[in-house]
Symmetry: C2
Subunit: 571 residues, 2 copies
């Protein structure tokens, strides 16, 4: 039996139409050097129509064609977010923090013929345009810039405002297309291999927006003003640009003013009610708020994703400024909403905090399972660890052009039954709260069990004389892999490695204790400041580390005697 | 370009799985003669699996087969709501307030082979079972009942609990079906013609549930307990049963205890945070709360739909009991969520009330247009009136079996381009707030303009000597239709009809003033207490009313002189 419901597709165009009419009085405010610039949703909708006319009629953009944006969070980027998918083209957000060679790769891989760029980031694009000859034909610049930057460019340069001026303020938006058609494209900035493109559909964006406005997720309404500090070129600014138009929530766009002082000032002046940020920027903001005289009383909630926010920081914001920090987890491949850490009903105090420091709970549209070391699903009991795999209508099942998909290969990003392998390792409680403990590539696979590198690092770094510690997997004849602990000692430290090992032995199971230890000068870091464990593993393989063996003989002996007994005998 | 998103359907089974695991500790409480009976979502999920096994294996229910429910709001009905669609069958809610002949028609039209019924309403079903021989083969009774009632029944009778007992508590739920497949069926209780079936899909129920939990709609979370007073056999209890499992909101089911005293008692004891009701029941509750000593402090919001709630009642609940009453509009054909009357940002006081007394604002998934007397779309300016037509993924585009769909006929319930003709007449503001002024069939179509019968009635009933007033359209040679005013005077009234006409003349345009007046004993009512205008029109046509003509001569004269001038000259 088939239903008698109307066959109405879920489209970005519907979001645009709804937001620019019913919520026409809501506003997008962009922070500039001269203070806030405000446009209503009705004006943004009209300008989106002008942009679509320009792209289609003057630049020849056709259905299904990607249009690149290299932009901060601002009104013009919001116009592109709405216009490009709604006209039938594909919004391709370009990450302005990528190294030049990755930017070139991505623009070429997507074949972006048109790129819209903020004048303030034009130098980044201009530097690679010579390599993009034959790909990029049109550069549309929003905001002031130095024309000399584009002197050698063989294509056409357009001023964003000139391009829009005088064009019709309505457009035959594509509301009746196949909802599984592409609407947006974003490449992951994977640390290994080439970047991979995730193609969002109209359906996935619409459903994701509905989840964002759910009271159990971000709960946005027309009474909110949202400050997306997380960039629109990174995980779609948590989906806020589209969700805001769906629900009428006003937007406060920080553009490039992501430093503590302008952020504090714009909060004080424009009075957002809700924010979305990453921990690094939010840490700096706390000091500014503590020191300055800012009114942040309207700001009730800030969602922090990307990486976990230290509980001390969460408590400081809540106690000193009345700002509730909520954890969330997601990734480019998950649109990004995966989990949000609202505590369940009926918990208070420390029990509530135990929930709030997790990555959060899954909504109905995100199914989750944990795959253990042996490839088997492990229970959701808050203890068993496994690699997180997820399934749902806004979760990627492939990459653009088939990249990263090699059937049944261990490095495949997707399981044979189509679930996304997140590369994150963690636990899930019976009531669905996710805690991530490590990256799958960093976990130490020792004798059929997993050892979390992050857990060992955290224990080691709790020692007063340890400045930093990085634990990596190294090959081991008997166990497959074993942990190598590299530590950076604080100046004047007196503790030796045996003492550190004893310190660790009080905190973890004996089979998890590293045998291989090395004192290093500093932990190698990636461009975004994360531990670069590839480098440590390579240094070990090339014998560039001075490694001390501790306790290996006797532990190995015990392990050999009791091998049948499982975990407790390992190592 | 197609997206790389996973192809995951939206299903009721996913809602069931999610609710019964991640929200397994949330509860369904049913009010009984012996007080509250509580089951967790995990238990309800397990019992839903047992029900599905019983229906499939013992009663032979197959994919796509409707299963009837004739039940109050209780845990067993919730189990049916989840189990029947999730096993691939179709939940068919039967309205226990319908006249017997309509119940027979509906069960036969849907071909319900299995009906689940509460023992307390078994007499209703038993009375019509003889007429349903050949259709109903299995009656499943939940709760105690008198077996003598079923003595003559030729099919099989099952006790609900016996049927479930000992069966497996998990089931291979159909999570990977076509989301446009039928999930539920509900017949409208139209006052004219045969009832018509609306077939909801898995997709429509899933999307509707996502809208219900949006902060801008009902905003339900796992911290809520919801009291659905509106029946599960009527507009799906506003979609709350499925939405609750999607978001983990606990449920307080009133069963048949819909009188003010038990309602007040269950609110006091079980402490719901959110309610959904109809004005009649809520009016009685106010008196009970005023008189009694009940703690209703947890109950923050009650949504009232079906018909408008008098502002005085809304204010009384808010001022005296801290309960915020929110208007909503919907119908069986709209799943039912059409509009919710949360005021926009930045309005307070009387301006806020002006928004709150409307039917509310449309969400992004419900498109609306107003079709005026000439068949043209009229502007959304808060003034122009038209028949409301809606479009969206949870709006009916047909009836089961094609009923009610006669292409291009004026009585067609669907427009040629597939929009639902709601039969309601009203206005929409530029910011999307709907105010209903009349039913399309009751509006008076006079000389190409519409006169609202409801507006004239409300003005007349504001006269201190008028007890009731009903205005209907009667044929008029010149204008097509003109209003006939029928009034019931209060005992001892001294006002004559000319005085009432003068009273009305101060309040409406002259062309809207009725010429035909009749004093009647009482206004005929339907079984649910609404004015039965069919009867009045029939009485007029059969010359059974004593009609006084007032002002017809001179007004008609004016109208003839100034016909070209439009509205002001009519009548």
């Amino acid at each position: 039996m088939y239903s008698t419901m109307q066959d109405v597709p879920l489209t970005v165009a519907r979001i645009l139409q709804h937001g620019s009419t019913i919520h026409g009085r809501s506003t997008v405010t962009t922070w500039t050097e001269d203070g806030p610039v405000v446009r209503t949703f009705a004006e943004v909708g009209a300008r989106a129509a002008q942009l679509a006319h320009a792209l289609h009629e003057q630049l020849g953009v056709v259905d299904g064609e990607p249009v690149g944006t290299l932009m901060w969070n601002n009104t013009e980027h919001q116009e592109a977010y709405l216009a490009i998918p709604s006209m039938g083209a594909v919004l391709h957000t370009l990450n302005l923090r990528l190294p030049a060679h990755q930017l070139v790769y991505i623009v070429q891989h997507a074949a972006d013929r048109v790129v819209i760029v903020n004048g303030s980031v034009l130098p980044l694009l201009a530097a690679v345009l010579p390599q993009l000859a034959g790909t990029v034909e049109h550069v549309v610049v929003s905001g002031g810039y130095d024309p000399a930057l584009l002197a050698g460019f063989g294509g056409t340069v357009h001023d964003y405002e000139d391009l829009l001026a005088g064009r019709p303020t309505d457009y035959p938006w594509q509301t009746d297309i196949d909802e599984k058609q592409a609407a947006a494209l974003c490449y992951t900035s994977g640390t290994t291999g080439d970047p991979k493109g995730v193609v969002y559909s109209h359906r996935s964006i619409y459903l994701h927006s509905m989840q964002i406005i759910a009271a159990s997720s971000f709960g946005l309404t027309a009474r909110d003003t949202v400050l997306p500090v997380v960039p629109m070129f990174h995980v779609n600014a948590w989906g806020i640009p589209h969700a805001a138009f769906m629900t009428g929530a006003s937007l406060l766009m920080p553009d490039r003013f992501l430093q503590p002082e302008p952020l504090a000032t714009m909060i004080d002046r424009v009075k957002p009610t809700f924010g979305a940020a990453v921990p690094t920027i939010w840490t700096g903001l706390l000091d500014e708020l503590d020191a300055g005289d800012y009114d942040t009383s309207t700001l009730e909630t800030v969602v922090i994703g990307g990486s976990a926010c230290p509980p001390a920081l969460m408590k400081a914001f809540e106690e000193r400024h009345g700002i509730r920090v909520i954890h969330a987890w997601g990734m480019t491949e998950t649109s990004p909403l995966g989990t949000v850490a609202h505590p369940p009903a009926g918990v208070t105090g420390e029990e509530e905090w135990a929930y709030r420091v997790t990555q959060g709970v899954f909504p109905s549209s995100v199914q989750a399972r944990l795959i253990g070391p042996g490839g088997e699903a492990v229970p959701h009991d808050g203890v068993a660890e496994g690699e997180l795999e997820v399934r749902g209508p806004w979760i990627a099942g492939a990459y653009f052009g088939g990249a990263g998909h090699e059937a049944d290969a261990p490095e495949d990003k997707f399981s044979p039954d189509g679930w996304l392998r997140t590369g994150d390792v963690g636990t899930i409680t019976a009531d669905g709260y996710l805690t991530l403990t490590d990256r799958a590539k960093d976990v130490i696979k020792s004798g059929g069990e997993w050892i979390s590198s992050v857990a060992l690092e955290n224990h080691l770094m709790a020692h007063p004389e340890v400045a930093e510690a990085a634990v990596v997997a190294v090959p081991d004849e008997k166990w497959g892999e074993r942990p190598l602990a590299t530590v950076v000692l604080r100046p004047g430290a007196t503790a030796g490695l045996p003492e550190l090992r004893a310190f660790l032995a009080e905190r973890v199971a004996s089979w998890q204790l590293p045998e291989r230890w090395s004192v290093i000068e500093s932990v190698p870091k990636t461009s975004v400041g994360k531990f670069d464990k590839k480098v440590i593993r390579a240094d070990y393989a090339a014998d560039r580390l001075a490694v001390t063996l501790l306790g290996k003989g006797e532990q190995r002996g015990q392990g050999e005697q009791g091998e049948q007994g499982g975990r407790a005998e390992q190592g």
